[in-house]
């Protein structure tokens, strides 16, 4: 049951290899697979209510020895969000990506990426987490290079080197931790760390983990690989990356903070706040100075990661709920803006704001599709971005963390500025060159994928009154790691 979110993409990979000569079957199968993952995520979430935590042990080996999967509300909600975005992304890719790339394994790699993401969200074992991260890195690496354009290959080197360094630190930290504690089961570790003061090397291991996840999540000062590599593959792929890769990095930070770093708040809280603030500011400043839609949006990914980190640092019910809501909102809004940007490219043949113009005049619907998620990123009600920021700022003022909260407010204004910049330049400005490399027929699937994700964004914003309870419950679970430990190791006192 808990293994389904990983098994479905793996089985799909086998089937996709079997159908590798027929694009139609591959497309159909991918859509079926992402809907099956949605079903699995929903059923896990439904089963969670009343249970608190779901635990499954592979091979039936008992907890600290075997590898277990654990679901709580945080992972359940993120699983659901990932599967929803995956539906939009797969449909969008059918319409957007050229046939060569589609035939050469695009859908297969999507499923590989999904397997890695779902596994990382669910696993309760640190080494297993590392394996899922590698699955993600390998799939995403091939996705970045798929098509072998010169720019792509250059970007992929940066991506791979940075991610391998991250993985190396990750493994080093795992080795260090295992030598000190003799276990890698998260619940077991968290329990042992709480029983007695941990040996000093454990703190070094946690610092190494923080850097490794920081690289994966693209936080300051490790973010530079992201804007260098994300804009190069087809924007459908970038959209999917933006929704999955960095967000899993943030999720793992959230989990580790709740499990381990929480014990030493006096040290970790300032570190997280400083990193969060710098990530926000640098990301948004770089975005404000770019003139390529893909670059602007990629820098915004970085900037928004800062808000999620801020929520982790706040570590109160409202702050954490805000952080998780922010992760989900970013998955939707960011992907939607990327997709709308891709549609602009399909019609106008460029991502360069200086060349674009008059979208609002010629394609009002497209302008509208871009506007909703862009406003959400900037934080205008009733979009989910507003509620996410509101919760974070509320928690920030509530906990009297003035400086980070004020930084977050200023960065919101800058975010609004750069979204308005895209709007002014691409939608309202008169078009300078009347480019007619344009307006071929766009595959309806590209429109449909964008619609789906934009609707998800709106839906999340409008139903926040109902969904907030889930986010708050997730936050409460994170604040009480003993409930996680007891769910995995029932014998603990």
């Amino acid at each position: 049951m808990l293994f389904l979110p990983v098994l479905i993409p793996l089985i799909s990979i086998v089937l996709l290899i079997g159908f590798r000569h027929s694009l139609k079957y591959q497309q159909g199968l991918s859509i079926v697979s992402v809907f099956a993952q949605l079903f699995a995520a929903v059923s896990i979430l439904l089963k969670l209510s009343g249970n608190g935590h779901l635990v499954a042990q592979a091979g039936g080996w008992p907890a600290p020895f075997g590898i277990g999967f654990v679901a709580d509300y945080t992972s359940g909600l993120l699983l659901l969000a990932v599967s929803l975005v995956a539906i939009g992304s797969v449909i969008y890719s059918i319409g957007f990506v050229d046939f060569d790339r589609q035939k050469n394994g695009l859908f297969l790699l999507y499923q590989g990426l999904l397997a890695g993401v779902n596994g990382a969200l669910l696993t309760g074992d640190i080494f297993n987490l590392y394996v899922w991260f590698e699955v993600m890195v390998i799939s995403s690496f091939v996705l970045i290079t798929l098509g072998s354009e010169k720019l792509q290959l250059r970007a992929s080197v940066k991506y791979l080197v940075m991610n391998l360094i991250g993985s190396m630190l990750f493994v080093a930290a795992i080795g260090l931790l295992y030598s000190q504690m003799g276990t890698l089961n998260m619940a077991d570790l968290a329990y042992k760390v709480r029983l007695q003061p941990a040996p000093p090397l454990v703190n070094s291991a946690i610092m190494l983990f923080f850097i490794a996840f920081g690289i994966k999540a693209a936080v300051f000062p490790f973010f530079f690989w992201l804007p260098a590599s994300y804009p190069t593959p087809p924007i459908a792929v970038t959209a999917f990356f933006g929704a999955t890769l960095t967000k899993v990095g943030v999720y793992v930070m959230l989990r580790f903070y709740s499990m381990f770093a929480q014990l030493d708040v006096a040290f970790w809280q300032p570190v997280i706040f400083v990193v969060a603030g710098l990530t926000m500011v640098f990301g948004v400043l770089m975005a404000a100075s770019s003139y390529d839609i893909r670059k602007i949006l990629s820098f915004h990914i970085v900037s928004q990661i800062g808000y999620m980190l801020m929520g982790i640092g706040l570590f109160s019910v409202v702050g954490l709920a805000g952080a998780i809501l922010f992760i989900v909102h970013n998955m939707f809004s960011k992907t939607a803006t990327f997709m709308a940007g891709g549609l602009i490219y399909l019609y106008k043949g460029s991502y360069d704001l200086k060349k674009l113009g008059w979208i609002y005049k010629t394609k009002p619907l497209l302008a509208f599709l871009f506007l909703i998620p862009a406003l959400s990123l900037a934080g205008i009600p009733p979009t989910p971005g507003f509620f996410g920021k509101f919760l974070l700022l509320y928690a920030g003022f509530d906990g009297a963390h003035w400086s980070i909260t004020i930084v977050a407010l200023v960065v919101s204004i800058l975010t609004l500025f750069s979204m308005v910049k895209i709007w002014n330049e691409a939608m309202w400005k008169p078009e300078k060159i009347t480019a007619d490399l344009v307006a071929k027929k766009v595959h309806p699937a590209a429109w449909m994928g964008t619609f789906i994700v934009v609707l998800l964004t709106l839906f999340l914003g409008l139903t926040i009154g109902y969904t907030y309870d889930y986010f708050a419950e997730a936050a409460r679970q994170l604040l009480d790691p003993m409930s996680y430990i007891k769910a995995v190791l029932p014998e603990t006192p």
């Binding site: 990979i13 086998v14 590798r20 499954a56 042990q57 592979a58």
Partner: protein, 139 residues
């Protein structure tokens, strides 16, 4: 490097390497060995052949279908995880064991070996796929 010595050696090494890889695969259950290293050995049989005769010839070999074997391998590995479920276990990847006996000789089989077979096929397929692709671009 297209020498006659290498050609003759490669043609004869191929079956030996394949058999050796199967031995290493089975041995891996209790001793050093296992699916990954056996897969590399099996892949090497084809890589050496391609080195001696060229990729074009190697691709015509009967078993040189790397994508097929990668898919089959992942499929077998996943299937080995399901067998326990069919036998009523609670979780996937629960081990199931049998012993085949031929007279005095007995063969211990179980789902871990099946899983290893999946790894073996996947690794062999992947190695052949990568090396063939790289060698093709070289020419």
């Amino acid at each position: 490097m297209k020498t006659e010595i290498l050609k003759i050696a490669a043609a004869h090494l191929k079956p030996f390497l394949l058999i050796l890889s199967l031995v290493v695969l089975y041995r891996g259950h209790n001793e050093p060995g296992g699916g990954f290293i056996a897969g590399l050995l099996a892949g090497m049989a084809y890589v050496i052949y391609a080195g001696a005769f060229g990729v074009g010839k190697a691709k015509q070999l009967r078993l040189a279908k790397p994508m097929f074997f990668m898919g089959l391998g992942i499929g077998i590995a996943l299937f080995s995880g399901m067998i326990g479920l069919m036998n009523g276990a609670e979780s996937i990847f629960t081990g199931v064991w049998t012993t085949l006996t031929f007279g005095t000789y007995s063969l211990k089989l179980g789902t871990p070996l099946l899983f290893d077979l999946g790894v073996y096929l996947t690794v062999a397929g992947m190695l052949v796929k990568i090396i063939f692709t790289v060698m093709e671009e070289d020419v």
